[in-house]
């Protein structure tokens, strides 16, 4: 099966899902926890859902307020995330995390 790309942003999203694998999570909560904007987060969620690694459902929280979309990883998604996140982070992500490293 073709799998989605694993950008640093995607890793961050998968890490959040793995922390509470059975919980349904809201888009805005994910955005706050990962620090990703809606413009970055949603393409990742759409990609994961496209590859059937993520499932989504609508929930109504209160009357008169539009329903919310919630997400969690499918069994395939959990397996994929665990397999991918077990790999060491590539060098460039470490460089990105500490941009001043090695300049001294």
């Amino acid at each position: 099966m073709e799998t989605p790309r694993l950008s640093p942003e995607t890793r961050r999203v998968l890490e959040r899902f793995l922390e509470r694998p059975t919980d349904w999570q809201y888009g805005y909560s994910l955005s706050r926890e990962t620090g990703l904007s809606s413009g970055t987060l949603y393409p990742i969620l759409m990609r994961l859902e496209k590859h059937r690694l993520l499932e989504a459902r609508w929930v109504t929280t209160e009357k008169g307020v539009p329903p919310r979309h919630t997400y969690r990883l499918t069994p395939d998604g959990l397996e994929f995330a665990r397999a991918k996140l077990a790999l060491p982070r590539p060098d460039w992500t470490a460089q990105q995390a500490t941009p001043n490293e090695g300049k001294a």
């Binding site: 790309r5 694993l6 950008s7 942003e9 809606s38 413009g39 496209k50 307020v65 979309h69 060098d91």
Partner: protein
């Protein structure tokens, strides 16, 4: 409504608009983002959330537009998939070719030239006045060719339009030497450059060649006026302009008023224009229409009005002495000259002719009333009223003029902006093409791939923009090109004043015509909004390009 509520409402509006534009299969995701909006605490964050979400939806809308039949577009590849890049390049090339077709159309070439006139002026470095009416490059080239080919008609065309008085006189002499039937050119050049010393030699030849014409006498009177003005430098204008103080001036004006006809030779000039424009492919509307300035100048108008007033005054004096017959003759002198001028349909002479007639008919009306001839008095009253615009008529003409100028101003603005966009899109296209050529070389670094993807997108958008801007230039300018063709090739000047106004408006910067602060403010807001949206979209797209390239990096997989 509070600021917070407005921001939240704007955020919801942005997302809802984006959802409407989004392809069917991504609308649910749009609804998902919209659903979260109510749970975002800060209104500013809500707005940013909405803008980010709208960006995602617009990206998919654009992808659907580029590949309408392919809704199986892999979400992970989006706009930067190889096949999408190919489609973008094909679409861009088609639009670029379509734009090149516009260049084959003469109205487009002329319209583009006019549209860029306004942007030339802020960078003007030549010492000439910064007006396109004085654009001389094309005229000088034409006169050089005409001289080399011994073409008197080409020389007439240039001499009647050049700003340089000396060169204009030299070309006129050369044209008349080659073809003595073109002697009337001296009058055209004399009207355009009334302080030329050569006029003293030209006038006797003109008087001999066309003795019935009032024009040479008016030119003589004007030369005397200018000479007097030069000698009286520093004195108040009203003092040296006392016409009755100079018998030579009086004599010239009396001869003009006695002349049986008036011909400013503009019709002869226009008859030649068509041939010369065709022969030399001359298509600069500013330079070509600058000969309209050769219409009877306003100073001749004031001379004629001044002399007419003195003739009427003399008639009133004679009338006061009881000599009504001589008085009537004096009044009729003015009326006849007005009728002679009126026979020319050129704007200034026609208006002046009507004005002189009104002045004299009023006097004649008063004269015959005193004689008890009510029928004739009513006739003169009718004639005066007929030629004198009423208050309502003036107001209507003024309102029509305002409306006409507003429409012409909008068209000129559309043309200027389209011309500017053509330059911007051409620049972007050249930059994008350079990046694509550089990126197509072997051994390209992986890091250059995002630039190639972005360059493809920029090239496609620029080619589309170039096509749309070119279409706007073509469609906006086409009616004016037809007016230009009719004026120059067929001598039909019924709409030339409209074209001249349009060309005048197209010379001024867009902002200079907008005086209403509110309009400027909202234009600024719209412009900043567009820039902001473009920046957000670029950031979003380039961010994904980078992630896409990292995905293909061997370190990641």
């Amino acid at each position: 409504m509070t600021l917070e509520a407005s921001l939240r409402q704007s955020a919801a509006l942005v997302l809802e608009c984006a959802i409407r534009l989004a392809p069917q299969d991504t609308r649910e995701w749009g609804q998902a983002m919209r659903g979260e909006l109510n749970h975002v605490e800060s209104p500013w964050t809500a707005l940013m959330w909405a803008l980010g979400g709208a960006g995602v939806l617009m990206k998919h809308a654009l992808a659907a537009l580029l590949m309408p039949g392919d809704r199986g577009l892999p979400l992970g590849r989006g706009l930067f998939a190889r096949n999408v890049r190919k489609v973008a390049l094909v679409v861009g090339s088609v639009f670029l070719l379509a734009t090149l077709v516009f260049f084959a159309a003469p109205p487009f070439r002329q319209g583009l030239r006019v549209s860029l006139t306004v942007w030339n002026q802020p960078f003007q470095v030549t010492p000439l006045p910064p007006s396109a009416w004085n654009r001389q490059g094309g005229l000088r080239a034409l006169s050089t060719r005409a001289e080399a080919q011994h073409d008197p008609e080409g020389l007439v065309f240039a001499a009647a339009r050049l700003v340089d008085a000396r060169e204009s006189a030299r070309l006129a002499d050369e044209a008349v030497r080659l073809d003595p039937r073109l002697l009337w050119l001296y009058a055209i050049v004399a009207l355009r450059h009334p302080d030329l010393a050569e006029i003293q030699q030209w006038i006797p030849r003109l008087e001999q060649w066309d003795p019935q014409n009032a024009l040479p006498y008016l030119i003589t009177a004007e030369s005397i006026d200018i000479d007097r003005g030069n000698k009286a430098a520093g004195l108040p204008r009203a003092e040296w302009r006392r016409a009755d103080a100079d018998p030579a001036w009086q004599s010239a004006m009396a001869a003009a008023f006695a002349a049986p006809n008036f011909d400013d030779y503009l019709d002869r000039l226009r008859a030649l224009d068509g041939k010369v424009v065709r022969r030399y492919g001359f298509n600069d509307p500013y330079a070509a229409l600058s000969a309209e300035d050769a219409d009877l100048p306003t100073y001749s108008g004031s001379d004629a009005e001044q002399f007419a007033a003195s003739v009427l005054q003399s008639g009133r004096k004679v009338e006061a002495r009881g000599d009504r017959k001589t008085a009537a003759e004096e009044y009729w002198r003015v009326a006849r000259f007005g009728q002679v001028l009126d026979s020319q349909t050129h704007t200034v002479s026609e208006r002046l002719g009507l004005h002189l007639q009104v002045m004299s008919y009023r006097q004649l009306q008063a004269l015959v009333s005193k004689e008890g001839n009510a029928g004739e008095a009513a006739h003169f009253s009718y004639l005066a009223a007929k030629f004198e615009p009423t208050g309502a008529g003036r107001q209507r003409a003024y309102d029509e003029g305002i409306l006409r100028n507003r429409i012409l101003g909008r068209n000129a603005l559309a043309l200027e902006i389209s011309g500017l966009l053509i330059i911007i899109f051409s620049g972007l296209l050249v930059i994008a093409a350079s990046i694509l050529i550089a990126a197509s070389r072997r051994g390209m670094r992986a890091g250059a791939r995002p630039a190639r993807s972005a360059a493809t997108l920029v090239a496609a958008i620029s080619a589309t923009g170039l096509f749309l801007s070119s279409a706007t230039v073509y469609l906006t300018y086409r009616p004016y090109w037809y007016i230009f063709q009719r004026a120059l090739l067929k001598g039909d000047d019924s709409q030339t004043s409209e074209l001249r106004t349009f060309l005048d408006l197209a010379q001024s910067l867009p902002g200079a015509r907008i005086t209403d602060f509110r309009v400027q403010f909202w234009w600024g807001v719209i412009l900043l909004g567009i820039i902001g949206l473009i920046l957000i979209l670029l950031r979003h797209l380039l961010g994904h390009t980078r992630a896409d390239e990292l995905q293909h990096s061997p370190h990641v997989q």
